[in-house]
Symmetry: C2
Subunit: 188 residues, 2 copies
């Protein structure tokens, strides 16, 4: 089921009966928990192609609010239907487990990156992880500005560090592409 939301419009509220899980097709949705005295804390921001409220499968009500941060297109999937499918078809259940496992791994990696304080080191580790293991090529399907966001850095910091690294010859830059040179290895 496809639905459209405007900026600021709520998809569901904390306490609503949890009947659907969702996927963002376009736009962004913030998951926020209401705290004491009506304040809210953002728990996650789901972007395009992400699913959210998966935990609703196992809960009678939603435990947070979901609000669109811009005009947003969302797919809603009936929780009961999904549960039925998951219990009747072990292949699908397993494939869902695989997907979740891979999500856990990727989230853990992101978190581990954030434990690196130095911007330079964080970028280097990111590049090493993202690089093709043989060729040392990192290809980007999104602007650097988004990468900066992922890395938890100001875009300026990322630009600066990259151009420094370029000057030092430890990376080479092409359009939508960064190539790690052999020199990087000694630096680390």
């Amino acid at each position: 089921m496809v639905k459209n939301y405007n900026d600021g419009e709520y998809v569901f509220f904390q306490g609503d009966p949890a009947d659907y899980i969702f996927a963002v097709k376009e736009g962004q949705v913030r998951l926020e928990r209401s705290t004491i005295e009506g304040r809210s804390v953002s728990m996650h921001t789901a972007i395009a192609e992400e699913t959210f409220a998966e935990a609703a499968l196992f809960s009678k009500v939603y435990h947070c609010n979901a609000v669109a941060l811009m005009p947003t297109v969302i797919h809603a999937y009936s929780k009961n239907q999904i549960l039925k499918i998951l219990t009747s078809n072990t292949d699908i259940a397993l494939s869902y487990i695989r997907q979740l496992s891979s999500q856990v791994r990727s989230l853990r990696t992101s978190l581990e990156l954030r434990n690196i304080l130095s911007a330079r080191d964080r970028i280097i580790q990111y590049l090493l992880l993202a690089a093709h293991p043989e060729t040392g090529v990192v290809e980007f399907d999104k602007p650097l500005i988004d990468i900066a966001q992922e890395l938890g850095l100001a875009k300026e910091t990322l630009y600066r560090e990259l151009s420094k690294m370029g000057a030092q010859g430890i990376i080479k830059r092409e359009k939508n592409k960064i190539i790690i040179t052999a020199d990087m290895i000694q630096i680390i």
Copy 2:
């Protein structure tokens, strides 16, 4: 199956046949990926009571190395056995899905916290999330030093901000406990 590892001992290597998934009982295990030229990048550090290499369920080989960072006790579970159980018993599969979903949610929340630059704000959001919704009480089952680590802050920073907040009267501190006062709400 229980196994013991010494500091620096490897549990498995990248490329080894993936026959087991694991849980850390005591100690720590670092998951690291080998990159070009034999360097390694840490992808995750699993601590006590955490599972790791769950993605091995769906892979023939491990995609990273696992190395004990201290004397460590690990439980190993046969991948085939687990797969058999998951496919034969949908209840267990569902419960595993639940566990993974909850892990995803919690990891997303941690990551969202890290997107907050200001130490003070990050701590406040953390406290609000961790607080009992009615009473505003946060109870700790581990030292603040570990909380600081979780938050990605130097312990000194956490101590300082907490004592500032205490002085401002927006929190009250007791042993293993922080109470959020009504005053906090206006400050945010």
